[in-house]
Each structure stands twice: as C-alpha cells, then as structure tokens.
C-alpha cells in the first residue's frame, strides 16, 4: 500500500517538524561522599516559581549532541571534572512538570570523587552546594522525585557492580570502603566477612602502601583493579554486597 506509506510519512514529517516537538533536557544527580555522608550537588534555582529552592544540575540537549553528550557536558562544565561515572536512569515526562512548557528530561546519576581539586573549582561557583542526601526534603520542579529515583537505582547498582570506588579517592583502605557501603545502603556490615568477600572477588589491588600520619595503626591501601574486573566481567560477575 504505497499511498498508505506516503500518508504515514507526511504525518511523520509534520509531527517531527512542528506539532509534536518537545524540549528535551538532561538532569544529573551528582553523588559525592566525604567519609561521613552521601551528598548531592545542587544549584540555586533562579527560575520562578522556584527562586528559593535548589535544583539538580541540568541543561537542554543541544541539536548536535546525544543525551549522554549533554549529561557529560553539564558535568564537565559545572564540576570541572572529566573522569566521572555516568549512568542513565530514566525519562521523566509528566506533561506539566516544567512551568515554561513541555520539557521531557532524561535523568542521569553520576559518581564523583570529592577531592581538593574539585573543591577549589566548586567554591568559585557560589550557585553550587553539596547537600546531604538525608537532609534534602525539597527541590525545584520534580527534582526531588528524580533524585529519589536515582538514589534507589544507585543503591541497587552499587550492590551488583563495583561502582562504589568512583566515590572514593584512588587509594583507599578496606574500612573506608566498608563505611561507604554502610552509609549508602544504611546498614551494618561485619568487618571480617566484608574483607573476606572483597578479597575473594579479586578486584582490589594491594598497592603496598599504608596510611600516613594517622594516630592509630595505619591501614593498607588498595586500588580498584580495573583489568582484573574486566576479565571477571566477561565470565559473569556478582558483587553481592
């Protein structure tokens, strides 16, 4: 049925070019961790009616980039960091979610190492602020909902995949890693079982260094062993925290 086909194409062309277009944005839930709490990076919102709220970091997707590109761009431009773990979570498309018109947004979460370099960069930008995840009760738009959805997804994924390392310094102790899981998953782990488990996974590299100038027995330092993980991933891998 060629006429049917042409009909269909014309409808598509019309819809694609005018009627049914929407703005598409990305919003990033940027997680950081500081040995005490899980935090997210938020920005003072300057858009009515949310002038007194904070919002997630996001932007419109440009005509020449994918949504992944856009999310990376937001991260790099706002945090100055290029080595970030990014994960697409889901689309939020409630018709009236944005006061200025139809904006369909793609939510991402990102894990970054909060270190000195970051802090210098971030402190220059007084619109940005780290907030404890637990103390966040309100955000602009539907961003609280987005944040909660991303948090849940991250909590699930951190049990299945070795992504927690992205929140820690390059070198870390086993107790640091354990504390990270306890804070993020809100549970208590047995020290000996945790260590046995991690060592048996074979994705940690003992770098032969120890902590310096701590007022207790210094801990061994480890790094995440990416190549060992890549090998294991091929034959199936279960983190199982």
């Amino acid at each position: 049925m060629p006429s049917d086909g042409v009909q269909n194409i014309n409808t598509w062309i019309t819809q694609i070019n005018t009627d049914f277009k929407a703005a598409v944005s990305v919003d990033c839930v940027i997680f950081g961790y500081d040995d005490e709490a899980l935090k997210i990076l938020v920005s003072k919102c300057d858009m009515p009616p949310f002038e007194h709220e904070f919002s997630l970091l996001g932007d419109i997707v440009h005509p020449d980039e994918t949504t992944d590109d856009a999310a990376k761009r937001v991260l790099i431009s706002k945090t100055g960091f290029t080595d970030v773990y990014l994960n697409q979570v889901q689309v939020f498309s409630e018709v009236k979610r944005h006061p200025l018109g139809r904006v369909i947004t793609v939510a991402y979460y990102s894990l970054i190492k909060i270190d000195q370099e970051h802090l210098v960069h971030l402190e220059k930008n007084d619109h940005l602020e780290w907030k404890n995840v637990n103390e966040l009760s309100s955000l602009a738009f539907d961003h609280l909902n987005i944040m909660q959805t991303c948090l849940k997804k991250m909590q699930i994924q951190i049990r299945e995949q070795p992504i927690g390392f992205h929140l820690l310094p390059q070198k870390f102790s086993l107790l640091q890693l354990q504390k990270l899981y306890e804070v993020i998953l809100n549970l208590e782990l047995d020290k000996r079982n945790f260590r046995r488990k991690l060592k048996s996974l074979g994705i940690l590299k003992d770098i032969g260094e120890i902590q310096e100038s701590v007022s207790h027995r210094p801990a061994r330092l480890y790094e995440f062993d990416n190549s060992a993980y890549d090998k294991k991933k091929k034959s199936g891998f279960d983190f199982g925290i």
Copy 2:
C-alpha cells in the same frame, strides 16, 4: 543576581520554544513466547530508505501524554491488549538516527501472552509479524540495536524479578516455566532444583487443576500468586534463577 536569573530564563524560554526542540518518540520491543522460541512483534516499515525492512512498533509522543502513556497507547492500539507488562529501558538519541530529522526515542520492552485473542486481532493487521529473536539480523533505523539492548535488559530482569509469567498463559505447568527460562536465557536448568527453588519462593499458587488431553501424565497447573509476591517484595525479594 537577578539579572543573571532573568537572562537564564529568557534563554530557556527561547530554547524550549524554538531552537532546541526535538521530536520525541517511543519504540516498543514486544516480546512474546510460544513454547518454542522468544519472539518479537515487528511491523513492515513504510518509510524510505527502509521500505524493505521491519521496524519496532512506535510512535511520536503526543503533547498531552507522558512517554509511558505513549508506549501504552502504541501497545493497546497495535496489539489490542490492555494487560501488558511495560518497562522503560533507555533513551536512544544519536543525532542522525532518524532520516527525517532529530527524533529522540525512549525504548520500552513489553511482555505479552500470545493467546488466541491476540492472534485474531493481530492477523487482521497484515503489517505485523512475529519474528524469532534469534533469527532477526536486521531492522529499520537503529531498531536492531534497540532490540538487543532491550533483550539484554529483559534477560537480566527476568532473573531478578518474577516477570516471566507475563509471557505464559494464566495457568501453566512447572516445566513450561522452566522451558521459558531455558529459552530466554539460553541455558539448561535442573528440573528438581528448579522446582525446589520455585516452590520455596512461595509465589506460585497450585490451583488444583491438571492438564487435559495430553498424551502423558498430566502436569499440575499453577498461577502466579500476586498477593504473595507483593508481601515478599516489601521484605526484599530475589528471584535468583
């Protein structure tokens, strides 16, 4: 900085209304199962340059609906079925993925029971066809890529959540269920261990019926016990196939 804020808002208004709009579509990977193979429902494509290919079922997202709404609409209008399991997978947004312009698509997968009612409905529509997943080597647009991504996600989720039931008739035997997993995951399962596992999960209801007119000992029939599952879900649930 109010001027900064106003600047920002004007930029947004411009971008949302003109410059940076895109068409947003949904594409559904509709899985069905017929005791032999995992299949997906595809449609003859009538859009150049893909006139001789099949494509996934999809449509533009309308101004008054969410992407979930749009996916449901596509499913109901194309398959006639309202009781379908739908799962958002991810966004595909390569700039040149669609020949008619920028179309950002949200991929869903769906699990449906292929039964008599469906078949009658579907046979009326000669644009639609069930294809074995294994025998699909080409689809229009980037739909093969979308299909493969959705298939992988479904294979992961069917191990973690009791969603396989959506592909089977309401009443099914344990061996039917086992075969389903074997076909979808491409592995062999031990009959006794599989049965022990499923029974221990406590999400099957023995409905006290047996198969009729089969030329061997008739099997007991079970249903998925939704209320039992809901209870278990609250206290954490691992399907663990």
